[in-house]
Amino acid sequence: MAILSKEEAKKIIDKVLAFSKADEISVGLNGDRSGNIRYARNSVSTSGETTDLSLSVTSVFGKKSGTATINEFDDASLEKTVRRAEEIAKLAPDNPEYMPMLGAQQFQETQSFAESTAAINPGFRAQAAFNSIDPCIKKDLTAAGFLQDSAGFSAIGNNKGLFAYNKSTSVDFSITVRTADGKGSGYATRDYNDASKLDTKAATEIAMQKALASVNTKALEPGKYTVILEPTAAVDLLQNMMRSMDARNADEGRSFLGKKGGGTRLGEKLFDERITIYSDPANPEIPTSPFAGDGRAQEKVTWIDKGVVKNMYYSRFWAQKQGVKAVPAPSGFILAGGTESLADLIKGTEKGILVTRFWYIRAVDPQTLLYTGLTRDGTFYIENGQIKYPVKNFRFNESPVIMLNNVEAIGKPVRAAGNLVPPLKIRDFTFTSLSDAV
């Protein structure tokens, strides 16, 4: 059984801790059952399922640490793994940035596990794929999609009193639908902890509509446009920005949060005052583990408050050096929004471009967080509150920092890639060239 209960996990970890001869020892125990199904050209191409249960031991002498892993759980194997970690640690160089292990921590309850997802079997996956492929075949469209699900647990314990345990599930689905002549393409993606919320047919129908509506594109001149970014489009740029909020990089002067003359932009208003970004492991829409990989508690943290940078994330070493609280990086974020739907945002737009998703986003300049990438799978021109016609795909060169200063409207957040992101209406979004790609 790959998913151990809290008690079962604790029993194994305690046994391993008892074998230790090192100054410090930390044990990680992880297990999961994951599966997937992939299809293309309206036919299943691959599918599989694996289970995994593994234990990792980190032993420390002074500032030397060593890690060994094992997937056998008899006493002899466990003890052997502890001895091996100790041997590796003794041979390792001193890590001058080593931090003593954490003691007991308080964790909040999060609901990141759903029985519906843990119960997924090959039959469920085949049916999910069929529900997506079948409507496409009936409309002479071509489906290519991927469904991946996972159910597992993660536990950490050490000889300083830390013990953490969490069970979680996830299901991720994406579908690309293309017209038979290759002139239209549409996309939809969904992710949940709870698979009972997943409707592959409904998601596929959106991708089908987009594919059919995106044939016979017109070419617009590249330039600055008002855009409506669907959550799937906005999330990648926002995620890239959130991943760049490391305090050490900012303190060292090599981040967009570094400041002229030294120091950081913590406390500065860097965005439109309607922008508030926070994280909350217990949010019922995007529940995550209540602890980070190193055992630190994940708490509700406001990163950007009404446009002002409020928090950056820290390694434990850097936080101690700076004399601040060691806030870990979040595993999901929430961009607070309003109540308007995507349709409402379109209705309120005189002239603009609706973007389904971006593709191949890469950093161009870490100083300004300039990114480049392209629109894909459904890009439309909006006039007088209505979608008028599909347009050729664009390449953009834009920074999320600039984008979040050019906010026209913020809709109601929906789940996107483990985050809550609203559709965003942005003015002066920079498209620099056209692409012939469909």
Binding site: T142, V364, D365, L369, S433
Partner: protein, 545 residues
């Protein structure tokens, strides 16, 4: 199948290095690397157990891959060793065709025939279940068996036999050189990979292969505290299919010029010394004026443009739509190839696929479905002539045998079509970089790879770089910054007017070419000599926030 191989190396500077799948496995001590692994006679016995079980359950074809994957990463910053990672992964993947459909099963740490037979039976059961959803049966190009054969990468010094301390000391020396020459920060990493792969199939092949890869890299940051600006310079090294010998240069490996570049041997200390000075120089370099320029592209840069705009669009599975939901499809459709007149590039452009090239990442004796490797044309005299195809695809382009470019990144992953080394042939006429630059009125000389992005059908791309030099009236006049060029694949390759001769030929490449869902990583090299492209659109990437 789950990929548990996403390792984020913390504290490596903004957007620095992500390490996707390298078939990570269990952590081991470095001494474990010196163990030679399971004996070849035992592997044959295990493989036969799986092949026989598959056949007895009704498989019409079966292959077995017994893989041992060793990885070592030494990670440092400034005067500190941050991490030394040693991993080993050992297991077996069994692939079968039953009822006309593929099935696959994998099992970790195999040591007896019973486990092998069980994996084969599971694979057959999966094939039979999936056959019900299949539209057409798999058509496998015939392949003769090779009997018991072996192949070893022609390395001179096994990097896994070099003490870890020596490697850490090398990197710390490199960091010290960078710091002494003006760097504010420096991260450096040495990646080492050894794939020990045993392949057996019902065609009668038993193939034992030993593959080595090495990649030393650094990232130097220089900061101007007054303005708050920072610039970076990455290593001009290439990942290679070599041993530790790549780090032992001789003068013949060095290419002199505005900065030294390297062939089959890399002087990391020298490059870091130059890199620190150049990162500082970038702080005060002129910001480029947007417009059309003639580009002179060094092989340390051009490999990535070849990879994205030639390597990927000519993967047959993309062309056919199998990657539509992730990587995308391709502009290089079958009708363009069938016409025999599609001008992919100018007459100067000859692009070859090559799994034989010595020292390259793609070089092996046989691919991961037992096909002997080869070299073939993709674009000849500018015209599209072929794709990259494996056994179950090659019939679609009228081929009788696979091109031998099937690969799986782990024993636990299913093998599929992956990019061979794809390279631009050197120019036939004698031509040096200096002579090429002499004729350029308004141009930019680009060295090293930087930011890269291309659309899902591989038309529109944008590339940055590490070093940019302005060329005016045949002379290099100074350094530029904020440079990126945008073009369209066919336009770009048709604007190629000159390629330097073979004396300038070098390899570039990556360990981390991603494809498939779940994603698999593949290592691939791309060779070229310096080439000239006329009238390419250059944008200025400077912004204010």
């Amino acid at each position: 199948m789950k990929r548990r191989d996403f390792v984020q190396l913390a504290g490596l500077g903004t957007g620095a290095f992500l390490l996707p799948g390298l078939a990570m496995g269990r952590n081991v001590s470095p001494e474990a690397f010196l163990d030679s692994g399971v004996d070849v006679a035992v592997k044959k016995r295990l493989a036969d157990a799986a092949l026989n079980a598959a056949k007895s359950k009704g498989a019409s074809y079966a292959d077995v891959r017994i893989g041992r994957y060793l990885n070592q990463y030494v990670v440092t910053r400034e005067d500190k060793v941050q991490n030394i990672v040693n991993t080993e992964s050992y297991g077996v993947g069994v692939r079968v065709i039953a009822n006309g459909c593929w099935g696959f099963a994998a099992v970790v740490d195999v040591n007896n025939e019973g486990q092998m037979a069980k994996a084969a039976e599971d694979a057959v059961a999966i094939a039979k279940a999936n056959a019900k959803l299949m539209k057409e049966p798999v058509q496998l190009a015939p392949q003769k068996g090779f009997g018991e054969v072996s192949w070893k990468a022609p390395i001179k010094k096994n990097a896994f036999e070099v003490p870890v301390k020596e490697k850490a000391d090398l990197l710390l020396g490199v960091n010290a050189a960078a710091m002494a020459n003006g760097a504010n920060y420096v991260n450096s990493i040495l990646f080492l990979v050894n794939e020990q792969k045993y392949f057996a199939s019902t065609d009668g092949s038993y193939i034992d292969q030993d593959i080595h890869r090495i990649w030393p890299i650094f990232n130097i940051t220089a900061i101007d505290p007054k303005s708050g600006k920072f610039e970076t310079r990455n290593a001009l090294s290439a990942p290679m299919g070599m041993g530790y010998d790549y780090l032992q240069t001789n003068p013949a490996d060095k290419v002199a010029g505005v900065t030294t570049r390297y062939k089959m041997g890399y002087d990391m200390l020298e490059d870091a010394t130059a890199g620190a000075k150049q990162a500082k120089e970038k702080l005060t370099a002129k910001s480029v004026e947007a417009g059309k320029y003639d580009l002179i592209l060094d092989p340390s840069h051009l490999w990535l443009t070849i990879h994205e705009s030639v390597g990927h669009p000519l993967e047959l599975d993309r062309v056919l739509g199998y990657e539509a939901n992730f990587a995308g499809t391709s502009f290089a459709t079958l009708d363009k190839w069938q016409s025999k007149t599609f001008q992919y590039g100018s007459k100067q452009v000859n692009l070859v696929a090559d799994k034989l090239q010595v020292g390259s990442l793609g070089a092996v004796g046989w691919d991961d479905e037992g096909v002997n490797t080869k070299k073939w044309d993709l674009v000849r005299d500018g015209v599209l002539v072929n794709y990259q195809a494996i056994r179950d695809q090659v019939h679609i382009i009228g081929g009788k045998e696979s091109q031998g470019c099937c690969y799986a990144d782990s024993w636990s992953s299913v093998q599929f079509q992956r990019m061979p080394n794809v390279s631009l042939e050197a120019g036939k006429a004698a031509l040096s970089v200096e002579d090429m630059i002499k004729d350029v009125k308004k141009g930019i000389y680009i060295i090293g790879d930087g930011s890269f992005s291309i659309d899902q059908q591989r038309y529109n791309f944008q590339f940055g770089g590490q070093l940019f030099y302005e060329i005016k009236d045949g002379k290099i006049v100074g350094m530029l910054k904020d440079v990126a060029y945008q073009s369209n694949t066919q336009e770009f390759w048709n604007s190629c007017v000159q390629v330097c001769d073979e004396k300038d030929y070098r390899l570039g490449g990556s360990f981390f070419d991603g494809k498939g869902q779940p994603s698999q990583s593949s290592a691939v090299s791309h060779g070229s000599s310096t080439a000239r492209f006329n009238g390419v659109n250059v944008i200025n990437t400077a912004r204010k926030i």
